[in-house]
Symmetry: C2
Subunit: 256 residues, 2 copies
Amino acid sequence: MNSDLAGPDFRLKRVLVPDDLEAVLRQVGTERYHIRHPFHRLMVEGALTRGQMQAWALNRYCYQAVIPRKDAIILSRIEDRTLRIAWRERILDHDGDGTSPGGIERWMRLATGLGLDAEAVASQRLALPATRFSVNAYLTLVEKRTLLEAIASSLTEMFSPEVIGERVSAILQRYPYVNEDTLGYFTPRLTQAPRDVDVALAYVREHARTLEAQQLVVDALITKCEILWTMLDALHFSYVEPALAPPGAFAPGADA
Amino acid sequence: MNSDLAGPDFRLKRVLVPDDLEAVLRQVGTERYHIRHPFHRLMVEGALTRGQMQAWALNRYCYQAVIPRKDAIILSRIEDRTLRIAWRERILDHDGDGTSPGGIERWMRLATGLGLDAEAVASQRLALPATRFSVNAYLTLVEKRTLLEAIASSLTEMFSPEVIGERVSAILQRYPYVNEDTLGYFTPRLTQAPRDVDVALAYVREHARTLEAQQLVVDALITKCEILWTMLDALHFSYVEPALAPPGAFAPGADA
């Protein structure tokens, strides 16, 4: 990113043309997306135990489970019918259509493939409080900030093909108890995410024309990165180092 | 607590008389209140560095700053005038009255007494995302759950005199750069909290008469304990072990 667009803390220096705004957003991803988080690094290095992988799948399920509700809130705020039609695809992708499974069911297959009990995962009762609070922060963001910010917060999908690519190939290579079928969640995401990004990015490029609106967009994407990052912070703290899971949370090896 | 009242996960076994409900609530405190958190233990042992104390004060400020808004949401949901009059005292305590400082200003004195810059603290821009998400979870709880649960979530104040007592005497003994004036936040809390507890506990004892309502009350108090606990988890992770503060957060020794 050209450093005359924004400072190191992503304060924009002036109103930007759409291409420059997009460049700043991509820089947010480069610096803040959870592909850089130590927990993700451990995962792709093959250094996580089965219990740590279970903790990840079980907690991340809470995030997956809330996505269609998050998108329904956004849908309820969109006045343009064409955009609503495009946005509702996200809900279908995650909830499924009753015949082919959606993202939530596919994530559940990952969780049970790692040896977790489906009912325990679905109940979310063993998830870390920090996971629930992070997920809730996402709902609050799309409910209480402007529609522009709500849409911008989805733009972490610009970066997800890279993290998925790293994750899937590393897991298949380094975690012999996981097979391709268990990772079925990720394959459709590689085509869904870019299609979703096209819609959201076009909206943001068109509607964020003032400095103030552009700063809101950048900050919303930063917040979303913080949500994903904080979820991994909590997993790292609770299950890697110092490995102090809070009372009531999932304990690897125990009943789950 | 008599173990025929609730299971180890605080699932109530039957509808309880008010004294027994209160006993279960106190047991939640015994097991889940943040006085048991390793970060608090390090603090009272005198083991925290000045930078770690600063990180604590700076993050906890975000919690203090939101309390009057939290109580205003509750106030807006109370239909009984007598209860509103009692509850509004909390807002006065924290916001002050323009002459004598309220809890927020007194907490700021603690933060600046530890060497932090008031503007940086007030802006909350160096706070951990996990702190903001935890604080936001408190607002969501009092806004979206029942009034009974919103009121019950305040009952961590039953346990606060003990944590304050430990904290104040330990800090004065073991952190020579902190004096009594800097800790002025805590003294009025020792009388305000029990007064507030009287009001909230009487409400809960009177209004939680069914098993379902009593379980909601217990779960609301657990969630509130999780909010406080998660804030210390994040401090511990970011500044003690493994000391991996997320991008953009307060760095001890750096500009604050």
